[in-house]
């Protein structure tokens, strides 16, 4: 086998894999324009399912919930996780093994165990005290819990990549802690904080299992709504809303490509 044939074979395999990866998404998008109420036969191009979406109060409120949950939880995680990442860096010479263990826990715990543990705990607390009744509040708490480690690790690794002399310089120039924060830390951390925010946001929007178990009756997010619709029996409306979510991902992918190109020419 020559190198050339090997490379050609690999290329064929690559395109097959790409087809495998994009086929299910393409089918969803295609059938969202289907005039017939079928997932097996494409009849005619139509926008009727999209029109139907616009009038659906439930979907609009689910969209609002998804957005609210993602933004609020990411902001909280950014503050709490950012401070944690800074603390881990400043005190990295101390024995913080227990802390690393705690931080890795949300990453290694299976989603389903994570979600059910939160649900059982919230239900019990609610029974005792009346607090933490299931809804957006409990979902935000749960999402922040799995976002914190990512934010902390991103901020930490950004600090590790910095020249320690920069910290010395800031202190030697008699910068107050506040000045150090505003003029040194935040500007140098800006890319890391932005990356952390977008990752947190994506994780939140992408999550289904943990949201599902911590949600209340009024706080269904888009994935929870879609899940319910699938269970009730597939309606082509789901194709339309799923297609819109796929479009959002496609836009995000293009943006990330543009930004990464600009940063590393």
């Amino acid at each position: 086998m020559t190198k050339r044939t090997l490379h050609r074979g690999l290329a064929v395999f690559w395109w097959l894999t790409l087809a495998f990866l994009y086929l299910p998404l393409a089918v969803v998008v295609l059938f969202s324009f289907n005039s017939a109420n079928s997932s097996a036969r494409f009849a005619d191009f139509s926008l009727r399912w999209y029109h139907r979406l616009m009038g659906n109060e439930e979907i609009l409120s689910a969209f609002g919930n998804s957005l609210m949950l993602a933004v609020v939880s990411s902001l909280i995680a950014l503050v709490v996780g950012g401070v944690l990442g800074y603390g881990m860096y400043r005190h990295r010479r101390r024995r913080l093994g227990w802390l690393i263990l705690v931080i890795y826990l949300p990453l290694v715990l299976p989603d389903i165990v994570f979600g059910i543990a939160e649900m059982a705990f919230f239900v019990q607390i609610n029974e005792w005290t009346g607090w933490l009744s299931p809804g957006l509040g409990t979902m935000i708490i749960a999402h922040v819990t799995f976002q914190i480690p990512f934010v902390a690790l991103i901020v930490y690794s950004r600090f590790v990549g910095l020249d320690p002399a920069l910290f010395e310089a800031a202190r030697d120039l008699y910068a107050t802690p506040r000045q150090r924060l505003v003029h040194f830390m935040l500007p140098t951390l800006k890319p890391a904080l932005m990356a952390a925010f977008f990752l947190s946001f994506t994780l939140s929007v992408d999550d289904f299992v943990i949201s599902f178990f911590t949600a209340g009756p009024e706080s269904a997010t888009l994935p929870i709504y879609i899940w319910g619709a699938i269970r009730k029996g597939v309606s082509p409306e789901i194709n339309a809303i799923a297609a819109l979510m796929i479009a959002a991902v496609a836009i995000a992918a293009m943006l990330s490509l543009v930004f990464s190109r600009r940063r590393s020419p």
């Binding site: 299910p24 969803v28 290694v108 715990l109 059910i116």
Partner: protein
């Protein structure tokens, strides 16, 4: 420089350092302790309680839940739960193996392309996993439902009986798992390939080693750390899968995650579900431990995640 600053300062400022440590680390650590560690401990304790009305946990402590999990019920022993456990293990094993087989050529292909294109190719592999996993499984439901071209093809080949779809089935779950986790294997393998010492591969080829031997002796050992990292990222979440098996598997494709979840909903029995969760946790930590030991033994060292 920082160190001399600290040692030269008085004990009062060491106290200040500790205060700084507490101030920065406490909120995040406390959040995780309060909202994850404590709930997990609570869930585990539920497994040792008995099941009350509506399946809620109640006092006398008992090991009932574990007996039920092992299959002992009012009507004697039944193998249902054991099948579910074995199916979870089997699905994890098969899907991880398939993911490895697909990811190796894909990751290698990306490294053979021009450096300029590589980020784009990697992005192309990763982007589908940015869409919500409910939607991804829904896409497969569309593709594998009865009457679709794929189902008709399978029926005409005699693989399934006519008018049946390819889903719900164990096959659909395997497919869904492979689909879900492929990017998690491609990424670490790609970074292993990028660091590959090409001289070793060329040496093997110069000595007329066939592709299989080249792979076995020159490529495989070098990409092992990436492979182990990938297995951790694929096998552990696959074992705990809920969405894919629920949507694509139906009753016959149930995995441990579905068994656990169902005990907190309709057929409620919290202690039984909690016992299942403990089993899942044990499997997770055992898996992590084994991969870590393997990684260290085989020279992957610190490159293996976690």
């Amino acid at each position: 420089m920082t160190d001399t600053g600290v040692t030269a300062s008085s004990s009062r400022s060491l106290g200040r350092e500790t205060r700084h440590l507490l101030w920065t680390v406490t909120p995040g650590a406390l959040w995780i302790l309060l909202f994850l560690v404590l709930p997990s401990v609570y869930l585990m304790s539920v497994a040792f309680m008995s099941s009350g009305p509506y399946g809620l946990p109640q006092m006398p402590l008992s090991l009932d839940a574990f007996e039920r999990l092992a299959g002992f019920g009012f009507l004697g022993w039944s193998p249902g739960n054991l099948y579910t456990l074995l199916r979870s293990l089997w699905q994890t094993l098969v899907s991880t193996a398939l993911v490895v087989v697909i990811a190796y050529p894909v990751a290698y292909y990306i490294t053979t392309c021009r450096a300029k294109w590589r980020p784009l190719l990697l992005l192309a592999v990763v982007v589908p996993s940015w869409t919500n996993q409910v939607i991804r499984s829904f896409g497969w439901m569309n593709l594998l439902a009865p009457g679709t071209p794929l189902s008709d093809l399978a029926a005409s080949l005699g693989l399934i009986s006519p008018h049946m779809g390819l889903y719900p089935s164990n096959f659909a779950v395997t497919l869904g798992l492979v689909y879900n986790f492929l990017p998690f294997m491609v990424l670490p393998l790609y970074s292993a390939f990028e660091r590959l010492d090409v001289a070793q591969v060329e040496a093997a080829q110069d000595l007329y080693a066939n592709p299989l031997r080249t792979f076995r002796h020159a490529i495989f050992p070098q990409t092992l750390p990436g492979l182990l990292a990938g297995i951790v990222l694929v096998a552990i979440p696959a074992f705990g899968m809920y969405v894919v098996s629920e949507l694509l598997g139906g009753g016959k494709g149930m995995m441990l995650g579905n068994l656990v979840a169902s005990q907190f909903a309709g057929a409620a029995n919290w202690p039984l579900g909690a016992a299942g969760a403990i089993l899942m946790l044990l499997a997770t930590f055992l898996g992590l431990f084994v991969m870590r030991r393997l990684g260290k033994r085989l020279g992957g060292g610190e490159q293996v995640v976690i």
